[in-house]
Symmetry: C2
């Protein structure tokens, strides 16, 4: 509500300039527009409460990937959880908590039908948990590790970005499945958390340790599954250390997301021949029909204390660009969220 | 037989210097030594008739791969077919035609037991055929394409090194399985053979055409299976053009075998994420127990004329280094063999 005019205002961040290199404030513009009115059957009006900050957003801002690029002047695409404030859709009632791609704005008018239909939150699950370990990142970790990586008990699983939202869950699922787990993260605090709280068998601090040397020490029989969130040099070091029939799960490549040019690829890829290895990419969207499997099992592990997770919550829609930057600067600890309303 | 001394002589090429970069004459030394005598039960003496020239030999000369590197002073490792001249092994009789890793020499003393045991040739199959389309290269093509690449009828299969011993068989099996086939080879003569004789749907001459542009034209729906014998820039162009759930079969990387340093890897590897793609290496040795499956089916296709193959035979043991070089200069047309005795 704008107090002077009584006009209800929707603040929204739009893409002002297509980023090359690291994202900066100037790439975005904060606008104030009237809150949208519902115009067609099937639509709902959502009041956003939390925005999800995800590395994949960097790609959306730059080029067509598995989704078309965000257009200049368009609201910045983002996962979010919000409250239904108005509905012309019999499946959604005012007061429902819903999750979807609602964007960086206070209010979103959403056509709540078809493949992009919002999902309702499971009652009783805290919103930050529903957006992290029980949300996309947890589901990503679950299917990426188990369906693509297919670890067997006794194998060695190495995770990059291990203190991140996805990586931390990957390592803990691997441990539950009987694997030896090694996490790679930046800084002593993250590594301490990995070993102390998340019960990884070992952690490598890529900022202060020689990763290649440490991988040799910690994985004397090689790496059976490398779950890669990072790309770059770490991927090359992991390929060099791959065990016979090792698998590389390509989840992301955050090291390269803000590069201006494509960096050289993994020069050790041909070790995949010698080791009869497999490198495979995946996207969580392909698994959404099976999401309940993952959520049920993750929920059990979280309640029993077998999986720890961390959520890093900042506040205020005005801080959205800076909060997204935290991912690429390695400043977040666990899932990065931005709370924009109570 | 040395005519002056009546001493029977074994000529053999040993590794004189570990090659860096392109292999040259100075990396090898031709020695004359007495023909070995059998010393233990289980051994056989083989008179080599044909040597097999294979890109993978370049790796064996340089470093430990899936086999230990050839030592300095050791006979150059090589596949071969020969005649048993003496035997202290009840499984092998004098006069048997056998195939195995007998090396660049006239005579090989072989312990014919255990995993490296020679195999006997199927009677009636010409030796060059048993060393090419019905030998390792045919078996490599068969399992690499069908077991790793898993093409489905109607899909588009692209092969690099398509006029080579393995690649030419890969494309023809893919065509038999109902796929659209595109071969990449160097020079008009090879490309004409691919389309005219081997019945590929199309061929790209990487020496005179823009491969990326041609792949776009010829694979409008993307590449479902890329069978890679070459690596390097072609692999990158194929990754960029990968279809949804596309597969890259890593069979070899001949482009890089004579490099002195590891060249940058495929910078488009992260397209494997967007396309949910898989890149997987394999070695034919893992499939040897299933070799009869491949040989039976390939033999049928060769007899019915559905598969054409070419063998490029040079002569004389003294020409072994030069004949191996032909592979890396792209001079061979089909399987390269060296005949060293009648």
């Amino acid at each position: 509500m704008n107090e002077r005019t009584n006009q209800r205002i929707n603040r929204r961040w739009v893409l002002a300039e297509r980023p090359k290199g690291m994202i900066e404030a100037r790439h975005f513009r904060l606008e104030e527009v009237p809150i949208p009115e519902l115009e067609a059957d099937g639509e709902i009006l959502v009041r956003n409460l939390y925005l999800s900050m995800d590395p994949t957003q960097r790609g959306w801002l730059a080029y067509d990937t598995y989704l078309p690029a965000v257009a200049i002047g368009e609201v910045v695409r983002s996962g979010a959880v919000g409250l239904v404030e108005a509905s012309r859709n019999p499946e959604f009632a005012v007061g429902d908590l819903v999750q979807g791609l609602f964007g960086w704005q206070d209010y979103a008018r959403i056509l709540a039908t078809g493949p992009g239909k919002p999902t309702k939150l499971v009652p009783g699950v805290p919103i930050p948990l529903a957006m992290s370990a029980l949300g996309m990142t947890g589901i990503t970790a679950y299917f990426g590790l188990l369906d693509v990586g297919r670890p067997k008990a006794g194998e060695t699983v190495v995770v990059s970005g291990a203190a991140g939202a996805t990586g931390s869950i990957v390592g803990q699922i691997a441990r539950i499945k009987g694997c030896r787990t090694v996490g790679i993260a930046g800084g002593k605090a993250k590594c301490d958390w990995l070993v102390g709280e998340a019960k990884f068998d070992a952690a490598i601090d890529y900022k202060s340790e020689k990763v290649g040397v440490r991988l040799r020490e910690l994985c004397p029989d090689g790496i059976d599954v490398y779950f890669d969130n990072v790309g770059g040099e770490l991927l090359d070091l992991a390929l060099a250390r791959l065990a016979m029939r090792g698998r590389v799960v390509l989840c992301g490549a955050i090291a390269a997301y803000n590069d201006t040019d494509l960096r050289p690829g993994p020069k050790n890829y041909s070790n995949l021949i010698i080791k009869r290895g497999r490198m495979e990419g995946f996207l969580v969207f392909d698994y959404m029909k099976r999401a309940p499997e993952a959520v049920m099992e993750l929920w059990g592990w979280i309640q029993s204390g077998e999986i720890h997770h961390r959520v890093d919550v900042k506040e205020g829609l005005e801080n959205a660009p800076d909060t997204l930057r935290r991912l690429f600067l390695g400043e977040n600890t666990g899932k990065q969220l931005l709370k924009i309303a109570e």
